[in-house]
Amino acid sequence: MPRSGFVPVMTLAELQLALPEIFLLAAACGILLADLFIPTERRGLTHMLAVVALVFTAILTLRLMMAPGEAVYAFSDTFVRDRFGDVLKVFSYLILAGVFVYAKHYLRMFDLFKGEFYTLSLFALLGVMVLISSASLITLYLGLELLALSTYALVALDRDSRLGSEAAMKYFILGSLASGLMLYGMSLLYGATGSLQLAEISASLGGGAGDSMLLTFGLVFIVIGVAFKLGAVPFHMWVPDVYHGAPLPIALFVASVPKLAGLALAIRLLDNGLGGLHADWQGMLVVIAGLSLILGNVVAIAQTNIKRMLAYSTISHMGFMLLGILAGTPEGYAAAMFYAIAYAIMSAGAFAVLILVSVDGREADQLDDFKGLARRNPWHAFLMMMILFSLAGIPVFLGFFAKWQVIAATMAAGFTWLAVLAVLTAVIGAFYYLRVVKLMYFDDPSSEQPLKAPVDFRAVLTVNGMAMLALGVFSGGLISLCASAFVG
């Protein structure tokens, strides 16, 4: 149980709970320093170090996971270690490791192979971890900003690219605005409840304390912040521009790991903190989710740039994820968690294929680049097809199991009309995914140039693509893992 009052003492046991974070911080700083002394032609060493750091962080987290599933609080109740956080963190490491492998190929090809990518990504991951484990508004905001600032810089990684700088600038301005709004909302919450600790805020809401006007006002700002970070309509404007402007591996990163953080942000704030206001935020999320589903799927059809298409598809997927959250039940949260993990895996795979198709120093960001891929590279086209069908929600792929769970949760919460809307937009969405399959399989290639990629890239992509099938057919394991995060 959280204790009240400020106890400025850190015990060894508390530090141990945060060992993965502490280790990652040290490792990121170490890599930052070491990279200075690594000559350009041996940059692969930085890559190795970063992957090793991830592996050790994962080991440390898994060691904590062995402990009983009860939530444990630390550092004056600002930090929490629970199963929900552990599972999300482990998937974040896994996906980031994949991102590293995919990115290496691209960065080499485009002469961007610099240590900054690795240190910034690791700091972003640290932000994600702090955010996931936050038990107070301050830690939460800290994690959020660490993630956001690292990501802004990452988007501008190719500093000679006008598109990239423009995207980074837009992202930074809009992101700061959203952070400001959220911070304002937090201050209002503090004003209304007198606490920054999520557990205490929750308790005081239960007691009926606080000015309800002030609380609702604060809640609106919080929801806006969450919706912005997820990229849900009407706070989605940054998503297409960032995906479009950022170099592919950065878009790949933005489209995967931060989605897990977005889920954690929503659940920590809306459930752990403001669970008592469920009736209020549910209505807002219904609107946001519904609009995201419609706009994301409809506008994606009009795109010819595949990065923008995937951006609008992200918006619609975040709408789906919100369906699970708005239900406000453990089943709904578990479904949303499954969705976030599934989506991160799927979009990582989709962007990886984009990297693979990029040749001759040009990013493959046009739909036409996929023409005849099945003839040029049958195996990778097949993997991409599975990823696309999974994104479209066709059984027996992973995406279907994610979709039906959130839809079931929505229906259990009594929003059958929203569930019907969701499946109808999924049908619309199927169209643009099918269009890519059509380009790959039914059209003739515009170039016969074979696609080359290093063996580690191909191996990870194969695992990633096959995961669509394996995690779909054997989805029971992941489903119960997600369910176990919300027991008790």
Binding site: P378, F389, I394, P395, V396, F400, F401, W404, I407, A408, M411, A412, T416, A419, V420, V423, L424, A426, V427, A430, F431, L434, V437, K438, Y441, F442, S475, G476, I479, S480, A483
Partner: protein
């Protein structure tokens, strides 16, 4: 001994794993692909005969059951089993599956993918017919779209992309409503097991909504008028094998869904809304019959004829309520359902045979237009014999399988209402008209042009296909008893079930 094998799992997974194997060796050893695919398909057919041998037709209980937990958190099981309603359809699937491989022997473009797609499709279709868990059913039902999408899109005609996307989106659109209905049922009952859903009491308003949701899904698949428009496009553009499997088996999945889900889960809604289905079926039978008459493309004509004949299936399935109301004879109410089931099997043989016949011509002349032909019987007498038989069967000639189903349904329609029987009876006229008119224009008369003059008669491979289908068309027509006996107990059980109200 035999029944202890997981026969159904074998029937599903042997072709699916075979598809993976065929696709993976295809690049290295293209010569092996065709014999290997045929071997797998024949093995599957042989296994399905074991199913037939071990089947006990005296009971309506599910047989050859297999059950394992699939997704424990949601009480979802990998649960398979068959009764008299699914067995004939599985046998049809495995037979057609083997014929398709033979029919596609001459495909050159990416033949390993072609064979793999059909094997995969076959496994999934058997899965649809044997799934006893609603979510498992849905998974098979939807997964089928993927290979079919590729088959039409890769090996289809000039307008294939429009056709295949339309096919995919129509079916997907229909089936999402079924998903919503299934989830609603799950939330009420806590189970996806079909048997549990059959017993679940549901209020009438909810039943009607669920019934309509199922109806959208299955009506698109059947297809019923007015959601049939994808079918002519898909049929025309699909390669011969695709058309055959679509007409012979995939359409039946819609009918099967109605029998397995709509009728037993929402019997009260089905009774209340039977006029809707009967009305749509009669429109399909009569109106689409006229549409078929107007076609100049052979495949399109057969496609419209399929819609019209599938109208008999849906008509037969929903006559039971009207018969019971009129005559009070609950046992006799099963006649329409039996007729619909027989019609499904018969149409599977006949439509598959007709599409193969068109394929035979198309392979030689590369035209589907009726006007490109004339006097084919002069140059291809043996082929003409078979083709005329199949088109005659399509028009319901006594002694062929086409007669049995239509006769049973019309007989049942008389008991329901003479007007139903009257409208359904127009099909005999229209079916004969468009079938025979096509036969006259394509096969008889003077040799129309040099292409027809140069035609060679059936090859050995085509002989095999034609003979096998002809045997089944005539066999079921002359002696339908084994088929009817196979499903008698299950139909009786179904009728008894749907005559009891499920209102809480």
């Amino acid at each position: 001994m035999m029944s202890e094998w997981p026969l159904l799992s074998l029937l599903i997974w042997l072709p699916i794993l075979g598809a993976v194997f065929v696709a993976s060796i295809g690049e290295q050893s293209p010569k092996l692909v065709r014999p290997l695919a045929l071997g797998i398909a024949l093995a599957v057919f042989a296994l399905s005969l074991l199913l037939y041998a071990g089947f006990d037709a005296t009971t309506a209980a599910m047989q050859f059951q297999e059950k394992a937990v699939w997704i424990g958190a949601f009480n979802i099981h990998y649960h398979l089993g068959i009764d008299g309603l699914s067995l004939p359809l599985i046998l049809l699937t495995t037979l057609i599956g083997a014929l398709i491989i033979v029919a596609g022997w001459r495909i050159e473009d990416r033949v390993h993918l072609y064979m793999a797609s059909f094997l995969l499709l076959q496994g999934l279709m058997v899965g649809v017919f044997s799934a006893l868990d609603a979510l498992l059913f849905y998974v098979f039902f939807e997964a089928m779209l993927v290979p079919m999408f590729l088959i039409i899109g890769i090996w289809g005609g000039p307008n294939r992309i429009y056709a295949t996307v339309k096919f995919f989106l129509f079916t997907f659109f229909g089936s999402v409503f079924m998903l919503i209905a299934l989830l609603w049922l799950y939330l009420q009952s806590g189970s996806f097991a079909v048997a549990d859903l059959h017993q679940l009491p549901i209020a009438l308003e909810a039943q009607i909504l669920i019934f309509l949701a199922f109806l959208i899904a299955f009506a698109v698949k059947v297809p019923m008028w007015p959601v049939h428009t994808w079918l002519p496009d898909a049929h025309v553009e699909a390669p011969t094998g695709g058309s055959v499997v679509l007409a012979a088996v995939m359409l039946k999945i819609g009918g099967y869904g109605l029998v397995r889900f709509s009728l037993p889960i929402t019997p009260d809604a089905a009774a209340a809304l039977d006029w809707l289905v009967i009305g749509l079926s009669l429109v399909a039978i009569a109106y689409i019959g006229f549409v078929a008459l107007a076609q100049s493309d052979m495949k399109k004509l057969i496609a419209y004829s399929s819609i019209s004949h599938m109208g008999f299936v849906t008509l037969g399935l929903f006559l039971a309520f009207a018969i019971a109301r009129n005559t009070g004879d609950v046992a006799g109410a099963g006649l329409g359902i039996s007729g619909g089931m027989v019609q499904m099997i018969s149409h599977g043989f006949i439509s598959g045979a007709m599409f193969l016949a068109v394929g035979v011509l198309y392979d030689r002349v590369h035209s589907r237009e009726i006007s490109s032909y004339g006097g084919v019987a002069n140059t291809m007498p043996w082929f003409a014999m078979f083709a005329v038989l199949f088109f005659m069967a399509n028009s319901g000639l006594p002694g062929t399988s086409g007669f049995v189903g239509e006769f049973m349904v019309i007989l049942a329609a008389f008991q329901a209402s003479i007007w139903f029987a009257f409208v359904a009876g127009t099909s005999l006229l229209l079916g004969a008209a468009y079938s025979l008119w096509l036969v006259k224009r394509v096969f008889y008369g003077e040799v129309a042009n040099s292409a027809v003059a140069g035609l060679k008669d059936l090859s050995g491979r085509e002989w095999v296909l034609m003979v096998i289908l002809a045997v089944f068309v005539l066999g079921v027509g002359i002696w339908p008893f084994p088929l009817i006996e196979m499903m008698e107990a299950s139909v009786a059980e179904l009728v008894e079930h749907i005559m009891q109200s499920k209102l809480p």
